[in-house]
């Protein structure tokens, strides 16, 4: 009889222990949040927006799962801890990939910044050869204004590039290149029509 009572008490103790043994994995949560913050600081939201959004989605899902389990009598955060650890690794990878993506964008911007120099130089020569027939002067004035704007855009893109804002620099220099190429074709057309060698 005494043994049965002791067994009953032991069962109560076990229930109490099991109910209180699963603690919220705060350390892992903090580590994952820190990894996501680090990814943001590395500009993952700018260079890899989809991947960064996925990190946040996963974190929200884990938080909800943890909160759901916190309300249970028997808590076991083993799965969530594993997911948090995996997400921390993923956030680190995303942050690492940002550097690669940034480098890719930087190289693309750098290439166009170099390529445009030749077009700008050629355009400066072409504008001097443009036919000065009727209406020529005003058109040349407009070409000169357009070329001046391309120069300004190149300088702006270079400034953005030097500042390390490669995405903005790339967008700016792409537009400048498109404009410079357009002007190049227009001037070459005009010269060809006027049978002027260039």
């Amino acid at each position: 009889m005494k043994n049965k009572i002791l067994m009953g008490l032991a069962a109560i103790v076990m229930v109490a222990v099991l109910a209180s043994c699963g603690k919220k994995p705060q350390v892992e949560i903090d580590a994952t949040n820190a990894a996501i913050t680090a990814a943001q600081a590395a500009e993952a939201n700018v260079y890899l927006p989809a991947e960064f959004a996925a990190l946040n989605d996963s974190m929200n899902a884990i938080n909800a799962a943890i909160t759901a389990k916190e309300g249970k009598l028997f808590k076991n955060f083993k799965d969530e801890v594993a997911k948090l650890e995996a997400l921390t690794v993923k956030a680190g990878e995303v942050a690492g990939n940002v550097a690669a993506k940034k480098e890719e964008i930087k190289k693309e911007a750098e290439t166009i910044l170099n390529d445009i120099k030749a077009v700008v130089a050629e355009n400066a020569k072409l504008v001097m050869k443009l036919p000065k027939g009727k209406e020529g002067a005003a058109i040349i004035e407009q070409f000169k204004a357009d070329l001046g704007n391309v120069d300004a855009a190149v300088a702006e893109a270079q400034g953005l590039f030097d500042k390390g804002t490669y995405m903005e620099a790339l967008n700016k220099i792409k537009a400048a290149k498109a404009k410079a190429d357009g002007l190049n074709s227009e001037m070459k057309d005009a010269l060809t029509k006027a049978r002027i060698r260039f």
């Binding site: 009953g8 959004a53 929200n60 000065k132 704007n149």
Partner: protein, 362 residues
């Protein structure tokens, strides 16, 4: 005694297990989360910012209330508020998604329309003002406006619609301001058209009456026309002063005067640096009266000089308005007009021989 002990023990063990407890709102939260994630994918932050922010805030509230309820004894928990906030969050997130889709689709249409309208405006500007002396600021603004169109087109292609729209707005401002400025300038200039028309008709009539040559200079089209017996018999391309729009007011203003003049002297090649030249009687009486009135009104300083030596001369064909107010022809055309011109031949200089409507429809 033993039985009651066992019953108490079973009650202690069974109560927490079998007593009904409220079900945590896991599914509701999951649904809200999915809706928020979808809203994010639909760029609701950009296109439906307020609703999306509201949805996120409601989700946060749901989570806070859930955590709050978790701290209570599991038998006294009430998830109604959590369910309510999660439901509202999902609802707002779905609305944000839908608005975002609609807004971005509307924006897409708006951008395409605006791009087309602005490209048309650039074409109009080019057609109407290609040879019009616009100020450097206006030319630069037109150029900036065109560049912004390219930037906008690139942003549009990469689905950066908000940026595309922003660039277009900037471009629209620059281009419409330039157009208004240039058009208002042109319109103001053409207010003198009735007077020009009177001078033209009178000059052609003189040619008919005298059975002789008269010359008309159309500044806008950069043409010099020769009339004989009221009929146009020849036309030449001309180059003018850099600031050819408007009448000449003072020496050094690089403007070509407007009015009725006569040839007062013919210079052969050995007497002019401009191949050959026909000197006009600028300033005539009307020019002098206008000049003196301008000085009296204080529009011109007392030290101003009316200028002179306005000629039709050679050395033209440069393709630019380069003279100090004279009318330059190519040497070949100068030879042609020099032959028929004599002292006293009327030369009428007008802004345009056509009215503004005709000029714009050319």
């Amino acid at each position: 005694m033993i039985l009651s002990g066992i019953a108490i023990l079973l009650t202690f063990i069974g109560f927490p297990i079998f007593y009904p407890v409220p079900i945590p709102p896991v599914n509701e939260l999951k649904y809200a989360q999915t809706a928020l994630s979808l809203a994010e994918k639909n760029k609701s932050g950009n296109y439906s910012g307020e609703l999306y922010a509201e949805a996120k805030s409601l989700y946060d509230s749901a989570m806070i209330y859930w955590q709050k309820e978790n701290k209570k004894s599991r038998y006294s928990r009430n998830y109604n508020k959590v369910v309510m906030f999660a439901g509202l969050s999902a609802q707002k997130a779905n609305q944000a998604s839908e608005n975002s889709r609609n807004n971005s689709s509307d924006l897409d249409i708006k951008i395409r329309k605006k791009l087309s309208a602005l490209n048309d405006l650039v074409a109009d500007l080019t057609r109407m003002f290609a040879d019009y002396p616009l100020t450097q600021v206006v030319r630069s603004n037109i150029s900036k406006g065109k560049f912004l169109i390219i930037e906008s087109e690139l942003a549009y292609k990469e689905n950066r619609l908000l940026e595309a729209e922003e660039k277009l707005q900037e471009s629209e401002h620059l281009l419409t301001t330039s157009y208004e400025n240039a058009f208002s300038n042109l319109k103001n200039y053409f207010r003198s058209y009735p007077e020009w028309k009177r001078l033209i008709d009178s000059t052609i009539a003189v040619s008919k009456e005298t059975n002789d040559y008269t010359i008309i200079v159309d500044k806008y089209s950069r043409k010099v026309f020769v009339y004989l017996n009221g009929e146009k018999i020849n036309e030449y391309s001309a180059e003018l002063g850099k600031n050819w729009v408007g009448d000449k007011r003072v020496r050094g203003d690089k403007a070509t005067p407007e009015g009725m003049y006569k040839i007062t002297k013919k210079f052969e090649s050995d007497s002019t640096i401009y191949y050959k030249a026909l000197l006009l009687d600028y300033p005539n009486d009307e020019d002098t009266a206008n000049f003196e009135a301008a000085i009296a009104k204080g529009v011109l300083p007392k030290s101003a000089n009316i200028g002179g030596m306005i000629e039709i001369h050679g050395n033209g064909g440069k393709g630019a308005d380069w003279t100090s107010g004279c009318i330059a022809l190519s040497d070949r055309e100068m030879d042609s007009i020099f032959k028929i011109a004599r002292i006293g031949t009327p030369v009428t200089i007008v802004g345009s021989m056509s009215d503004l409507r005709h000029v714009l429809n050319r």
